[in-house]
Symmetry: C2
């Protein structure tokens, strides 16, 4: 079972889009996938218009069962949504003593028949994201083509190094996804080169800036359904194939 944390502290780097399109794409290829939204913004449930009751908050701090807190998007894909109530989980967990960084791992322990568990992180340095890093074995880092997002990616590496050195848990970076790529911008080219210099062959095909990706959200559909021939669908499908062969 591959346990993947999708993470970059920088806002708007393309985390939710990458986590969700990876999850949907893998499920369309027959893999069993669980997508967990770790952000109180709750963008995953908003995007796919998921009518839910219990969510990650109940799973983490109210001892709800995993089945009560997960909802099928298709035959191969379950989603555990979040919303504002997740901010309350952070507070409760911060108040626990020992074990506060293992709450998510405990809550997801019953999940055993998935091929992939994908965690979509909030743009913060918080206890829930630490829980996510401790649960996962690999990290996917979306990086938008600007200087500040590179700074965010650098911080992810520092955080993963800290988790390895201070907590003895290894999360390897399996993919760095260049997002909002526009080959006409010299800036896009420069940032892509910088990423390649630091991350070599972990850098995936770039996801081109493509308004259909933003439109698919308002249409409450994944990109493969909304615009199967778009650059957005094409780029993310290549990333799905890479994840399958990785």
């Amino acid at each position: 079972m591959r346990k993947i944390v999708v993470i970059n502290q920088k806002g708007g780097a393309g985390k939710t889009t990458s986590a969700a399109m990876l999850a949907v794409g893998l499920s369309r290829k027959g893999k069993k996938v669980l997508l967990v939204d770790l952000d109180p913004q709750g963008n995953v449930a908003v995007w796919f218009d998921i009518p839910y009751e219990k969510n990650l908050y109940h799973l983490l701090v109210e001892n709800a069962g995993f089945d009560e807190c997960s909802y099928p998007l298709n035959n191969n894909l379950l989603v555990t949504p979040s919303d504002k109530t997740l901010a309350q989980s952070e507070i409760v967990m911060a108040g626990m003593g020992e074990g506060r960084e293992k709450v998510l791992s405990k809550a997801l322990a019953p999940v055993s028949n998935a091929d992939f568990v994908i965690l979509d992180c909030a743009p913060s340095l918080n206890l829930i994201n630490l829980n996510a890093m401790l649960y996962s074995t690999e990290a996917v880092v979306p990086v938008s083509m600007d200087y500040l997002s590179l700074v965010g990616a650098r911080e992810v590496i520092d955080n993963l190094t800290w988790v390895r050195d201070k907590m003895g848990h290894e999360v390897k970076v399996s993919m760095v996804i260049p997002t909002f790529y526009d080959k006409r911008d010299r800036k896009s080219q420069e940032v892509l080169e910088t990423l390649s210099r630091h991350f070599g062959d972990k850098v995936t095909t770039p996801v081109r800036k493509n308004v259909t990706l933003a439109e698919s959200v308002g249409a409450h559909q994944d990109i493969f359904t909304y615009a199967p021939k778009s650059y957005g669908a094409e780029d993310y499908m290549k990333i799905v194939d890479r994840a399958l062969n990785g």
Copy 2:
């Protein structure tokens, strides 16, 4: 003294760019401005390459003096930077009892000779942002031209309403800034119309998608210095003028 919180929970909505360009633009027009970075990403200090020692963390929880924690960017503009240490402030403040939402107001009480105090928020729902709302009298909400950023803007309004009803403190929305606007995208037009319907004349001139704004960060300059004739400089200067006359 105008106390402005720049806020939108959505990542990458253009908060830091708007807060900083508003601050710099106002200072260039002779106003005395304090810009406070409330985000542990510390993007303001990174952008302007500010060599600092004490920062917002020391001001909030180590009783450092305001003068030790603020640095001049020009004759009219002081910056109080942040970095990872700010995450520690959040933890300390959460542990305080009564008064935990007033720590920032107390820390900024000595600031009296500024014309504008501008607070750049992190993309989160946290105690520091609540402190920011309680200190401020007006809110500026950058909204990028996509559905999820509209959802974030909606949440800002809900949060401000909660602060008014539950805590008796009024923060009026003085400007809603459309960001990453591209008139060739139907999506940009739709989101702009939606904003106008909800916020009427509080909606400012849109800030057009303009790669020079992203480049100015890597060049460690504000847009007026980096590219004075660019759309980025033009759009933000109109917003500065509007703030001056507002």
